[in-house]
């Protein structure tokens, strides 16, 4: 592989320094140190209860760490902000706004003029292939379409970080794979720093250039895996399968720690 690594890419975009989190005295996440490079695609992978969503929520600024700190662009995260777009598993679209008006929300918060908001929103709806549905309300859209709107809404705000909390978890297998491919296409096009929470091993290998396998009780980092397979990745390729088997073993150890499920 030719070394065309741009020096900019080596800059850590997100730094997690000795972060712990406890809820009611119970330790959910213990001393996590992690650096995420600019424009990287990182998957946080692990069984439920490993604190992967907690970690994402701390980067988003929804919950403060009990100890340690989270830095984005060398600034400590204290609250949610427009520089970090979030895509939720439950879509979290505003049901009273049409698809277009949902995507316009970020520009509206930045007090852009109506005309400009519309232009931006149309551009991102087109990027996710929903230009024909801009006047529909979320209740009229399928799960996959809702998540496309949510992705467009997050991107329309021009965030440098895109945080995704099991975004495809509620979708059927076919829709899921299509959206994974589209997300990669968008990521290669927009070059955001993506943090993607999932418990699907194959999803993580398909998408990420780095997988953070997490341990349970308390939540912590178990293993960092750099995925060096070229895109588009073939799920039946031997290297893919071998990696899948390796990670499955790691995750299984953690599930067993939890006892009977």
């Amino acid at each position: 592989m030719p070394a065309v690594e741009a020096p900019v890419a080596a800059r850590p975009k997100i730094r997690i320094d000795g972060v712990s989190k406890s809820y009611d005295g119970k330790l959910a996440l213990s001393r996590v140190d992690l650096q995420l490079m600019e424009s990287s695609f990182t998957c946080l992978l692990g069984p439920s209860g490993c604190g992967k969503s907690t970690l994402l929520n701390m980067i988003a600024g929804f919950v403060p760490p009990t100890a340690g700190r989270v830095l984005v662009d060398d600034d400590a995260v204290v609250e949610a902000g427009a520089d970090r777009g979030v895509v939720f598993q439950e879509y979290a679209l505003f049901p009273w706004r049409t698809a277009l008006a949902n995507v316009e929300f970020g520009p509206l918060m930045r007090r852009k003029a109506a005309e400009e908001r519309r232009t931006i929103a149309r551009h991102y709806l087109e990027l996710v292939g929903l230009q024909a549905h801009e006047d529909k309300y979320p209740s009229e859209l399928s799960g996959g379409m809702k998540q496309r709107v949510a992705i467009a809404r997050a991107l329309a705000n021009g965030p440098s970080v895109l945080l995704m909390d099991e975004p495809f978890g509620a979708l059927d297998a076919q829709t899921r794979e299509v959206l994974q491919e589209e997300l990669l296409r968008i990521w290669q096009h927009e070059r955001k720093t993506v943090v993607f929470v999932t418990h699907s091993i194959s999803e993580a290998i398909f998408l990420a250039d780095r997988i953070v396998v997490m341990a349970t009780q308390p939540g912590s980092i178990k293993e960092l895996i750099d995925v060096r397979l070229a895109h588009p990745r073939d799920r039946s390729e031997p290297e893919f399968v071998a990696l899948e088997r390796h990670i499955k073993q790691l995750v299984r150890e953690e599930v067993q720690k939890l006892g009977v499920m």
Binding site: A60, G61, F62, E79, A80, G81, A82, R84, G85, V86, F88, E90, A92, L93, F94, P95, W96, R97, T98, F105, G106, L108, M109, R110, Y137, P138, S139, E140, R153, A154, N157, L163
Partner: protein
């Protein structure tokens, strides 16, 4: 392939049964009204000419009531009474709407304020507003003020309670989504909390409006020289049974119309809801 096409042909058109269903429903609804008036008519005629169970004056026939109505319109009384009642209802209701939504919003947003206000509200709420009517007449006199205050008092409770619920139980995920899109506290209130609470607020307003109608008649029984309640009470004094029934019928018609209008407004404002679109 041919079987696929055949299937498409034999599959019943989904529109047909629903249209038939709609027609049956409309027929039954019409029958309900026709039957009601039919039984009423039959009862008056059979009583007057065949069975003679009670004094026919106690139950006038539908057309007698209608004639009474024509006469009251000719004399201008009915218009005056409708106007008087409506003006009280609208003023009282608007007062309740403004205060109820404003206080409800404030209480829904602040836990401290809720702790301060809720016990008193909960103490007053179960008392039928009618119990306060004589007192309101003492305080505000027998003029318009006492009626407006009384209606406002009665309509306040449902508007207040539903507003508080609506504001309090906004999906926290929507608030997170908005804050990650750069929304400030004020933006969140204006663009997330208020629209999310709107269905609740509208329901409260509709209930409050219905209640306004409910209580105005009673208020006009006690102290008024105009209004539909006065019309009924006045007719009682002079034993004009047709006028009494007419007063009730007019109240029913007005209430029905306003409820239908409010429902249409609701469906329009909440067209994003699947169930509201019908």
């Amino acid at each position: 392939m041919t079987t696929g096409i055949a299937d498409a042909w034999t599959t019943p058109n989904p529109v047909a049964p629903s249209r038939r269903e709609w027609r049956t429903a409309a027929l039954l609804r019409t029958a309900s009204i026709v039957l009601f008036f039919g039984v009423w008519y039959a009862a008056t005629i059979l009583n007057a000419y065949v069975f003679k169970v009670f004094n026919p004056i106690l139950l006038p026939a539908p057309h007698t009531v209608l004639l009474a109505g024509v006469q009251l319109v000719r004399s201008g009384e009915l218009q005056r009474d409708i106007l008087a009642s409506m003006s009280r209802v609208i003023q009282g209701f608007l007062l309740a709407a403004v205060v109820g939504v404003a206080v409800g919003t404030a209480v829904g947003r602040s836990r401290r304020l809720e702790q301060l206000v809720e016990p008193t509200i909960e103490l007053l709420r179960p008392i039928p507003p009618l119990a306060f009517l004589p007192m309101m007449v003492l305080w505000f006199g027998i003029g318009e003020m006492s009626k407006i205050a009384f209606i406002a008092y009665a309509a306040f409770f449902p508007i207040f309670t539903t507003t508080v619920e609506g504001i309090k139980y906004v999906d926290p995920l929507l608030i997170r989504a908005a804050s990650s899109l750069g929304a400030s506290e004020r933006d969140i209130f204006r663009y997330v909390v208020l629209p999310a609470a709107l269905p609740n607020i509208i329901t409260g307003l509709r209930i409050g409006f219905g209640l306004s109608f409910f209580v105005i008649v009673a208020a006009e029984f006690i102290a008024a020289d105009s209004g539909l309640g006065f019309l009924i009470d006045d007719a009682r004094t002079f034993f004009l049974v047709s006028n009494m029934l007419l007063g009730a019928a007019v109240i029913g018609a007005i209430g029905f119309t306003f409820n239908a209008l409010l429902r249409r407004l609701e469906a329009r404002l909440l067209r994003w809801r699947k169930d509201a679109r019908g």
